[in-house]
Symmetry: C2
Subunit: 262 residues, 2 copies
């Protein structure tokens, strides 16, 4: 390693330490946590963030499980699981990464990554809070949050408390039972059931992208198209249908205690 490269690493470590508010004993862990498998291309990658990400993911799940268990002693296991998931899923972690600028430090040779990250950051303007399945964030953004937490876990001699302090600060506000949104597909199912409406999801055949159409009582009330990811298309179609349906139900069935101005 030349002196110039050494300085680059040192600079990287300093900036990451400032963001994470944690001082590393073993700064090699920081560098490792940010190396994408493409970085050594065309050579075989010797070190990538993936091993640290594997551990960081498990540590984070453990910490958030403990947090929701102790914060909500009355909450049954089902809602506990959903609450944990929302606080550690790809979208939540990708938001953490970009809001603290961690994506700037990824070492990679995958040119499309920059564009994907840029697009995700732009879509956050449209979805300022967790979208519950409408966004498709680049997984690498979540991965590096996990790998950096894994690095801190080992560097701190397996201290759960230190890792938790770091993540809690980076991730605030954590999603709680009040801010935990409903998944659009579940919400649409509930709404249709309540109003005795027949709900169907149809997938367009013969198209390259995945197009999903939502039919309620036989009428198309929402649709969405999204590359090759059926789940995103389905969630967005459900969201469009929900918006339409709520509007329609409000028009036909104004609440009796409405106090709106004439």
């Amino acid at each position: 390693m030349g002196p110039e490269e050494e300085t680059e690493d040192e600079q990287l470590v300093k900036e990451i330490e400032a963001i994470m508010a944690y001082k590393f004993k073993d700064s090699k862990l920081v560098v490792e946590a940010l190396i994408h498998p493409s970085y050594y291309y065309p050579c075989k990658p010797e070190i990538t963030y993936e091993r640290l990400e594997f551990v960081g993911d498990a540590v984070l799940n453990c910490l958030v499980a403990r947090e929701v268990f102790t914060s909500y002693p009355e909450l049954p296991p089902g809602p506990l699981t959903r609450l944990r998931a929302a606080n550690v899923d790809t979208e939540k972690l990708a938001r953490v990464a970009v809001s603290h600028g961690l994506h700037r430090f990824i070492r990679h040779k995958a040119p499309q990554l920059e564009k994907q990250i840029q697009e995700f950051m732009e879509s956050l303007l449209e979805y300022p809070i967790h979208s519950n399945g409408l966004l498709d964030p680049p997984k690498i953004l979540a991965d590096i949050v996990e790998s950096l937490l894994g690095a801190i876990f080992f560097d701190s001699n397996s201290s759960l408390e230190i890792v938790w302090e770091v993540y809690r600060r980076l991730a605030e506000p954590l999603i709680n039972p009040e801010t935990l949104g409903k998944h659009p597909v579940s919400e649409l199912h509930e709404l249709c059931q309540k109003n005795r409406m027949e709900l169907r999801f149809l997938k367009e055949t013969w198209t390259e992208d995945t197009s999903i159409e939502v039919l309620v009582d036989g009428n198309s009330v929402g649709s969405a198209t999204y590359g090759n990811k059926k789940e995103i298309a389905q969630n967005r179609a459900a969201k469009a249908a929900l918006d339409w349906l709520k509007n329609a139900l409000a028009d036909h069935d104004p609440p009796s205690d409405s106090q709106s101005d004439p």
Copy 2:
């Protein structure tokens, strides 16, 4: 709580402490860790093992992730994940439960449970080591190992080291890269690919149970039927096909360096 019931709880705690080699400060956690949702039937269960299991599962995943990461510094993330999974999956944990007699302390009102546990224990005679997907253990056996580990985690003030000491002793020998078996479906795919054979899995229609037939180059070489769980039927059919195929390949293609007696 009457004095008799108190004695029963005390007895329970003592026996669990002996098995886990851990002395609880808060013995209510032990009781909670062993209450199946059926126990309070027909009343709504107030306390069940499920919340502790949720945390215990996450703690165990974290501990085994750390263990395989540090024990095998050269192992890529894929094999790390498989190694972790094998040491925390339902079969491994169910084996831990029955080998230490933990199943005797489950508080439930689900009569079929006893029979399922009995059948699982009998099947262990046929499969003395991890079956890699051929067995279908009652999930509750894995659940109570996780809930008891969750109980120790909270009782020990979130000490990863204490929980790890307990689990390592209960679970030994841990599965390592040498003892990690292959999944029969993957192994069959590899074997067929290597020998340029066409492999197909067919599912019998019109039957109530799930029946899977394995065809290699158009010939049925293995089959299995298993209730409504396609995965178990598929794994067992693959295992039968593997046994048949290995035999057939050995007969047709004896190794040239064979030193068998005439």
